[in-house]
Every structure is written in structure tokens, then in C-alpha cells.
């Protein structure tokens, strides 16, 4: 391993350096970790990175899917045709990205648009998966914005699936760990952009600093505006604090038309309630109840049976049973029979 650390990538198209470089992404770059409230602060702040997917340039070739399978060495099942170009039919634990196809008819012009969206992890600034995860350090976010699953620490509970506002994490039914797009964190660590962006033949997928990607998106949107797409927009939803995978949407006012891309994604209030008040109020109530019981036992008299009670009981039993039966039953005589 070289002494030199790889520089953070600013593009996906450059070829790798010949020299072996040390990774630039480590534990000191983690800014958020699941179930870890006392995470030490990061040692430095990396430039925010982003992948920009320009839907207007995408031709639906699925080179990105192939590159993803190859780089991550996953093995999706051989699929079957179900009347759509989508293959496989959904994201799986072996398929981290998926071209989703939708035929959209413009209600005003009647024009048909074939909308193709590359689905996958959005790398939220405020990740719902990480919020929901109960296993310390199983989901981390680096200061460059990448959200990554640490499989060694994953316990397979599937809470992240409930937490994600985009329906992205997929559980492996055999390995019992969840998987999703890593934004090629292992490539980024050595100065390379994501495999999908590298493979994209039209550069519909580009990669770099988030600032650069926003600037590039603005150029693209201005261009689309001149070509009849006056609603074209950048998809960087504020509800999750912005994302590190962004889209240029030609039909920018109707993100749902892109195979259900949520218009205003945010971590569900139900998840917030579960991970917020339920946890804090619930644990406080249990603590108070336990402490209250201990204090009560110290400061108040227990409820004791008195001599009076004992005598009353004997009188009652004697009265009912009569002297003979009472005498017969004097001492325990059916131990073990009940």
C-alpha cells in the first residue's frame, strides 16, 4: 500500500491511477451511526458528493445495472418477462439499482413520454434507515454524504425497511442482512466514481461534488426549458435534508409519474414517534415505575396479615366446616395431590 492517500473523486469518468493508493474514507469520517448517540465527532469534513441522474439523457440501456452487478459481485436471479422492460421486477438484495419504466401521456398535448428512472438508494442527508436501525453502527453516514450498510453489524431485523421513505433496502432471505446501493463507497474511498456512472454511455449519470452537480443540473434544466420542458427541475427533496443522489426531471412538477418517485419524501411521523417519544417517554416511565416501587417499599409499610385476620379466618372455617371436619383437616394432608 502506498503512502499516498487517494484524493476524493470529483468525477466518475477519469481512469484509475496506476499507483496503489490508501483509502480516503475511514471511521473518522462517520458523522452519523445507527443506535450510537455518543458518536465521536468526525476528524474532518469531506466535500459533499452527489450522483446526478439526468433522466432526459437516459436511454434505458441498463449498462448501469450491469456495472453495478459486476462491481458489487452480486448474483440476481434470472428473470422472466412480465410485459415490461423492467428486469428484475424489483430491487432485490442482489440488485441495488433498477431502471423503472413508465409510459406517460401528457394530459394537455396527448404526447407519449417514456419515462425511465434509475431507482436506488438516494443517500439522504437525514436517512430514515439509519434512524430506524437498532444495531449500533450497522448503518453509517460519512461526511461526504454516503449512507452505507455495515453488513457485519446488521442483525437482519428489517427496521430500515420501515424507516426508508423510498422503499430501498432489501433483505437477503439467505444471509439475513440488508443491502442497497453503497454509492460505491469502496470506489469513492480510492478516488473513483460509482460504477454505474462510469458505465453510463450517455453520461446521464454523472458524479462529483454536490455543488458541481447542482451547477450542472441547472445548466441541464435551462437547456430543457428551451426545449419545451418548462417544468423541468432538480429533485433534491428538502424533506429528507436533500439527497446525495439527485435527478434532473424533465416533467419536474410530477415526480410521481417517474414510477412513484415521492413528491415530498420525509421520514414517516410514525417512525419518528417510535424512535422519539415512545423510546424516551417509555423508558422514563419504566424507570420511574421501578424507582417508585423501590421508594414505596422503603418508605411505606407493607400490607401484612394480622393476628386478627388469622383468628377470623379460623373462626370462619370452623363455623362452616364444623368441629369434626376441621379436626380431620388439621394438618396438610393432600400435599402433591392438587
Amino acid at each position: 500500500m502506498s503512502e499516498h492517500t487517494a484524493p476524493p473523486p470529483t468525477t466518475a469518468v477519469s481512469n484509475p491511477p496506476v499507483e496503489a493508493l490508501a483509502p480516503n474514507l475511514g471511521d473518522g469520517d462517520i458523522v452519523l451511526a445507527s443506535a450510537t448517540p455518543d458518536l465521536p465527532p468526525p476528524t474532518r469534513q469531506l466535500d459533499k458528493l452527489a450522483k446526478l441522474i439526468d433522466i432526459s439523457k437516459c436511454i434505458g440501456c441498463k449498462a448501469c445495472q450491469s456495472a453495478c452487478i459486476e462491481w458489487n459481485d452480486t448474483h440476481p436471479e434470472i428473470g422472466v418477462n412480465f410485459g415490461s422492460y423492467e428486469n428484475p421486477h424489483d430491487l432485490t438484495s442482489e440488485m441495488f439499482t433498477l431502471m423503472r419504466f413508465n409510459e406517460y401521456e401528457d394530459p394537455e398535448t396527448g404526447d407519449l413520454d417514456w419515462l425511465i428512472r434509475k431507482d436506488g438508494c438516494m443517500h439522504c442527508e437525514d436517512p430514515g434507515c439509519l434512524k430506524a436501525c437498532p444495531s449500533p453502527g450497522a448503518i453509517v453516514k460519512y461526511s461526504n454524504g454516503i449512507v452505507d450498510f455495515i453488513h457485519d453489524k446488521c442483525i437482519g431485523c428489517g427496521y430500515c425497511i420501515s424507516g426508508c421513505p423510498f422503499d430501498i433496502p432489501r433483505m437477503s432471505p439467505t444471509k439475513h442482512v440488508v443491502s442497497k446501493c453503497t454509492l460505491c463507497s469502496d470506489r469513492v474511498a480510492v478516488g473513483q466514481g460509482p460504477a454505474c456512472a462510469k458505465a453510463c454511455p450517455t453520461q446521464a449519470i454523472v458524479f462529483g461534488t454536490k455543488d458541481d452537480m447542482i451547477a450542472h443540473a441547472e445548466e441541464r434544466i435551462a437547456d430543457l426549458n428551451t426545449r419545451g420542458y418548462d417544468k423541468a427541475s432538480l429533485y433534491d427533496p428538502a424533506g429528507v435534508g436533500g439527497t446525495h443522489v439527485m435527478y434532473v426531471l424533465p416533467i419536474g412538477d410530477k415526480p410521481e409519474e417517474y414510477s412513484g418517485l415521492p413528491a415530498d419524501p420525509k421520514i414517516s411521523n410514525v417512525v419518528q414517534g417510535w424512535k422519539g417519544p415512545t423510546k424516551s417517554v417509555g423508558m422514563a416511565a419504566i424507570g420511574l415505575a421501578a424507582v417508585g416501587a423501590v421508594l414505596h417499599s422503603i418508605f411505606s409499610k407493607p400490607n401484612r396479615v394480622t393476628e386478627h385476620d388469622r383468628v377470623e379466618a379460623e373462626e370462619m372455617v370452623d363455623d362452616i366446616l364444623g368441629p369434626e371436619e376441621t379436626a380431620e383437616l388439621a394438618t396438610p394432608n393432600d400435599e402433591g395431590k392438587a
Partner: protein, 228 residues
Amino acid sequence: MAKREFSESTDRIVATEPVEVRRYATHTRINHWFTAALIVLLILSGFALFWPPLFFLTGLFGGGQNARFLHPIFGVVACFSFLLLFLQLWKLNIMRREDLVWARNIRELLDGQEENLPELGKYNLGQKFVFWGMFWLLLAMVISGVMIWQQFFPDLVSIPVRRWAVLVHSISAVLSVLIIIVHVYAAIWTRGTISAMTRGTVTGGWAWRHHRKWLREVARRQDTPPAE
């Protein structure tokens, strides 16, 4: 034999000098402690996944993956075990008019003045509250638990429903732990109670003080009519 309204068929006076009354049969006690042990395991494995400072408790089960695998299995077994207990106990846990009077005078009970409290059957309102509380919460937990049982029911419900299920599951778990604290502490505070679930018997004084109608009925049921 007198009719049975406040007692189980296995309840009987086993001694008179001093009075000792059988309150729980051996199979009921085994059933109770088996359920209790499973609930302890459920609390340890469940709260490890609920509150990060307790995550280390997964170590008791062989790590996070094992705790995640075992928790729902404990849950299903606990529910069947509780169901058996439920079938034995539900009848005498039905609410009665005197329970309201008892509830109205709860302050006096806590102050140690039981003279004005009504005579009760086998269970008081507090015990009934624990019984029905655990019943409804376990029901909520087993239903919501199956909905979030990733390994065996990954696609049973939609993601929005799963979110509600996990919320219901955790709130129910917190409430059931509160009930268990009440249950355990009440058994300790009310001296003479614990032997009911260990040896199966209570003293006559305890029965007269806390469950007088029950004691009276148990005695009457044992009173053989005079020979003709």
C-alpha cells in the same frame, strides 16, 4: 356441594390449624412460571432492540442476529403459554360490581385501612387489571409482531402498515413492562402473596383479609353434608 362462583375446582382448604388454602394447582404454577421466564427473555431481547444502551443484552442470546431470530420465537411460545393460563383464569377475572367499590376505596387500601373495602372473590380489581392488561397487550404484540417478522413474513403487510405495527409493538411492550412492575411489586407489598405461586397455598389470614368471599366459598364447598 355448594355452587362454585368465586373459586376454582382445585382450590381447597388443606389445613385448619392454622388454616392453609390451596390457591393454584401445580400445573397452573408451572404454566405461570414458564410464561414468566419467556416474558423475561422477551423483555431482555426486545428492549435490546428498542433502546440502544441495552443493545449489549443481545450478547445473552449469542449476538444481534440470534437475538433477532429468537425474540419472535419466544413470543409465539409465550403467547401459547399465556393462552393456557388465560383459559384457566379468565372466568374469575370477569369484572364485578364490588370491584368498582374496591377501586373507589383504593386510597384506603394503600394506607392500610381495609375495613371499608368490599369482600372479594378470588381476584381484586388490581389483579384483574394485570390479567386483562397482559391479555390485550400480548394480543397486540403477537399481531403486530407477526407483521414485522421479517424472516418469515417479509411481505405480509405494506411498509406504511409495518411502521404502525412497529409503533404499536413498542408501545405495547412498554405498557406491559409497566404492568409487570405493578404485578411483581403488588405481590411483594402484599405480604403472604408469593407463596400462592411458589408452594401453591396461602394462609387463612391472607385469604380472609384479601379474598374473603373466595375463602368462604372454598370452605363451604368442602363442607360435607351430615350423613342421613
